[in-house]
Symmetry: C2
Subunit: 158 residues, 2 copies
């Protein structure tokens, strides 16, 4: 057992969770794919190659355990699959409506204090933005220009 496993064992036991190879690999996967915000399916597909006989139920169980323990955060910006990321400093999430890419952005969410909610116990704050990412804006503009040019050509010909 290597040192990173020992570190994880400590980390997990602090949260009353037991160590397992599956859990180690799932957490490792999230660590190595921080920016892509993988969903359960993606994690399952990738780890199936490393862990023969891995069950998708394990992926779901583990992710839930991690979320409950505060190790991992669920990103529910899509109404289809839940995506996951390691718990880190709070930030906002932008999702591109076109290509689906999720982009993290810094935002001081703790700064957002709502007087109206004084009597409420606010435990989680999520800021979700939706729109077009720079890449998709560029593609859209190129397409629009092509159409305009085609129209112009047609007019010139007539």
């Amino acid at each position: 057992m290597n040192s990173s496993s020992e570190y994880l064992i400590k980390k997990l036991s602090q949260k009353s969770l037991r160590f397992s190879f599956q859990r180690m690999k799932i957490l490792e996967y999230l660590y190595q794919h921080e920016s892509s915000h993988p969903d359960a399916e993606e994690i399952y597909e990738s780890l199936s190659n490393i862990i023969p006989g891995l069950s998708k139920t394990t992926i779901y169980n583990t992710l839930h355990s991690f979320v409950n323990a505060g190790l991992v955060q669920a990103v529910d910006i899509e109404n289809s699959e839940t995506r996951y990321e390691l718990s880190a400093s709070r930030h906002g999430h932008f999702i591109c409506k076109q290509c689906g890419v999720i982009h993290d952005f810094d935002i001081d969410i703790d700064m957002i204090v709502v007087k109206e909610l004084a009597q409420f116990q606010v435990e989680e704050k999520d800021v979700y933005f939706r729109g077009l990412c720079p890449n998709c804006i560029r593609i859209q503009n190129e397409t629009t220009n092509t159409i305009k040019n085609k129209k112009k050509e047609a007019q010139d010909e007539s």
Copy 2:
């Protein structure tokens, strides 16, 4: 056809949508249940009594049309069903993890400008808070006190 239907016809035609009894009733339902943020199922159950033979597909189709037209907003604070509300001034949504009630709160979302997203085209901004509502906090405290009292009684008896 009464005046409110005429108003709706105008409103719908502005969005290139046709009038129908179903659409009128769905919009009416959302209007009369603004604070409860109903989901498709709830709308369907309620309107089935008024519109015999109503199809759930119609509820989904209509809600999608309304959202596309900007008449209605989807609230995806729960990872299960999507809930709906009439488009109004932007506000935040708080959901109670215990009882599921959704509470709207005023927040100047337009104020939230993220320099990092200058190259992005931000079309929608959602602020979702999660935690406990005042009512559930009260219930929780009462339960806790009851347990404490029971423990104390047990100690006193021994």
